[in-house]
């Protein structure tokens, strides 16, 4: 009941705020058309991410990185006559809120592209809304394969929505990549698999399990936790008594941190392995000393080590954002930049002006975008997935994530 009223109030506030911005942008539109050619066009890049709640550390990193991309484009006058603005909406990590946000972004005519969301489950709820409006959506963080390759992706790949792209690598690669590392490199043969039943977590756990079994490993137990809970002691006791030598967790850091701590507290001194959802400084904070030795796979090469990323890291610092860019900062920047590149292409093709059907043209242009971004080469395959299939294994060492192994998954 309280959750509902929370949503209602947030929605009311957001709607109010949106009405105001919509008024504002309509004025700007009017100004733009009267002296078009002078180029006073404003293009809004929508952002949808959890800006409050458990996952806000990741969400705020996404928002800030997109903001940085917009500011950089404005400063460099990257697209002549176009000023980029961002409009960030909070989805609280909930699919229903995300869908409302999608509707709002579609309603704002100045929005030509959206970066987000963080959660695959939220992405699922937004795709259709954007696709109907021919509005391009680039997710920096969705990793569920079904989003780009259809629900039957294991048998037959069919792209469900033409307007959906992502810069993140899918779980179809990430789960097996983790399985190979755990089995071949870490030499752990008995795994206890836990997930949080969300689209992302369950998907990741499933692809991991499949590959781990194929390699010859043994699944000594499975468990599904409730992400609202924080007492995992019963699960931890089960893990300990299962005799597992490693735990794989499909889910996100707000639960993974306490879970890791409670498993070690229960007496099972075995590493917890997770995906990019636990690759956050907050995981280390939450797990405390118990987190040392835990592993995470994350998409792409380590952002801090790529030469192309150095500039991003420095600019982010200079811009003075309060929150860190976290796991998806580089991908968010690249997602926003992909939209900016697509807008540039559309504007250039139309003689320096935005065409009337700009949204549809941006979707088409996005398919052929290709540039060197923060995370490496950014371009999309026929499903809208990133062509960059680099993954990295990180391990918690001295209170930080340290790179263990970076590689490309080959199947």
């Amino acid at each position: 009941m309280r959750q509902r009223s929370l949503i209602a109030i947030t929605a009311a506030l957001a709607a109010g705020a949106l009405t105001l911005t919509a008024c504002g942008s309509r004025d700007e539109d009017g100004g733009g058309s009267s002296d078009s050619g002078n180029g006073g066009t404003t293009v809004v890049i929508g952002v949808d991410a959890p800006l409050t709640g458990d996952l806000s550390a990741l969400g705020l990193g996404i928002k800030n990185s997109v903001d940085l991309a917009a500011k950089t484009a404005n400063k460099e006058k990257f697209v002549e006559g176009v000023t980029f603005k961002i409009e960030a909406l909070d989805d609280q990590g909930q699919a229903s809120v995300g869908q409302q946000n999608a509707t709002k972004l579609v309603a704002n005519k100045d929005v030509l592209g959206v970066v987000g969301p963080l959660n695959s489950s939220v992405g699922e709820s937004m795709q259709k809304v954007f696709d109907t409006a021919k509005l391009v959506e680039v997710s920096p963080a969705n990793t569920n394969p079904a989003l780009t390759q259809g629900v039957n992706w294991q048998k037959e790949k069919v792209r469900p929505y033409k307007s959906y792209f992502r810069t993140a690598t899918t779980d179809a690669i990430q789960g097996p990549f983790a399985a190979q590392y755990v089995y071949n490199d870490a030499k752990k043969k008995k795994v206890f698999v836990i997930d949080d039943k969300k689209t992302y977590g369950a998907g990741l756990a499933a692809t991991f399990t499949e590959e781990f079994k194929k390699l010859g490993g043994k699944i000594v137990g499975t468990e599904h936790i409730n992400p609202e809970s924080k007492d995992f002691s019963a699960v931890a006791t089960k893990v300990k008594n299962s005799g597992a030598d490693v735990v794989y967790y499909g889910g996100e850091y707000p639960q993974a941190g306490p879970l890791s701590k409670q498993i070690k507290d229960a007496g099972a001194k075995i590493p917890l392995v997770g995906g990019d959802g636990i690759y956050s400084a907050d995981f280390i904070k939450l797990a405390g000393a118990a987190g040392t030795g835990d592993l995470a796979t994350s998409v792409g090469a380590p952002v801090e080590e790529l030469p192309s990323a150095k500039e991003f890291v420095a600019n982010y610092k200079d811009a003075g954002y309060k929150e860190a860019f976290e796991a998806y900062g580089g991908y968010s920047y690249d997602s926003a930049w992909a939209i900016i590149e697509a807008v540039k292409k559309v504007v250039d093709d139309n003689g320096g002006k935005l065409p009337d059907d700009a949204r549809a043209k941006v979707v088409d242009a996005m398919q052929n975008v290709s540039f060197d971004g923060v995370t490496g080469k950014v371009s999309f395959d026929e499903f809208g997935d990133a062509t960059n299939k680099q993954l990295t294994v990180y391990s918690v060492k001295d209170g930080n994530w340290a790179t263990v192994k970076s590689g490309t998954f080959t199947g």
Partner: protein
Amino acid sequence: MNELPQQLVNGLLLGSMYGLVAIGYTMVYGIVQLINFAHGEIFMVGAFGALTVHLYLLPDGTSIWVALPLMLLGAVIVSVLVAIGAERFAYRPLRGAPRLAPLITAIGLSLALQQAVWAFYPEAKSKLPFPQIEGGPFTIGGATLQTGDIFLLIAAPISMAFLAYFVMRTRTGRGMQATAQDPDTAKLMGVNTDRIIVIAFALGAVFAAVGGVASGLKYGQIDFKMGFILGLKAFTAAVLGGIGNIYGAMIGGVVLGVVETLATAYIADIPGLDKFGSQSWAEVWAFILLILVLLFRPQGLLGERVADRA
């Protein structure tokens, strides 16, 4: 290895936490028939009060043994102030109004408190680490206990004993019983019912504060949402034990905690039920138990006074 002792201990600990918070629900309900949905947030601000003392009032590196009593004190002060403020400004003006009005106020207050902490407490937008007691773990009879668990195991029974003494033996406590039985007559007999109501809120807040500190010590982290689910569970525990009955709150809490834990641990082993055994189903089993109890014993496990209220 037999995991039953460990799972029972896990359940007992979880249940003690529910119980500490449930007392606040049950006391306030017993006296003013208000389901104080903001009580979960009283628990949350208590934990934040303790953290504030540790982070901002004590010098870095203070031993936890020195810090803990002060943190507990800080937690109690913050919780009690918020609870008394809530009573004075949110509930008292609505006394005598239809019952839905204060209930909705409570829900609003709960949201307001959550969001206030989220907005104004430094870095409360993500989870905050809570100081830990060094040492442990201890193994007692096949069950492993952490230092944070020991605090809870000591604090919960002491709090209960104190409450029982207070309600049964002191003058104010008897005033509370009288007000619970019949507020109008109690007033005629010279009981200052306004004061009694404030004391009920304050006492509930003290237990919530102890629960908040225990939660921080046990899980090593606190966040602005920590009171929401726990508040619902504690309310469930209060209903299970018989709302209005302070012993019922504790019993209800322990039963709820143990059922959730055992459901996680063992349901999956029953042939045919393996799909329903994971932790994500534990609450379903706990609520099935609640429904059964309410079907066969509507007043709750220990309740006796609800019938004449309804």
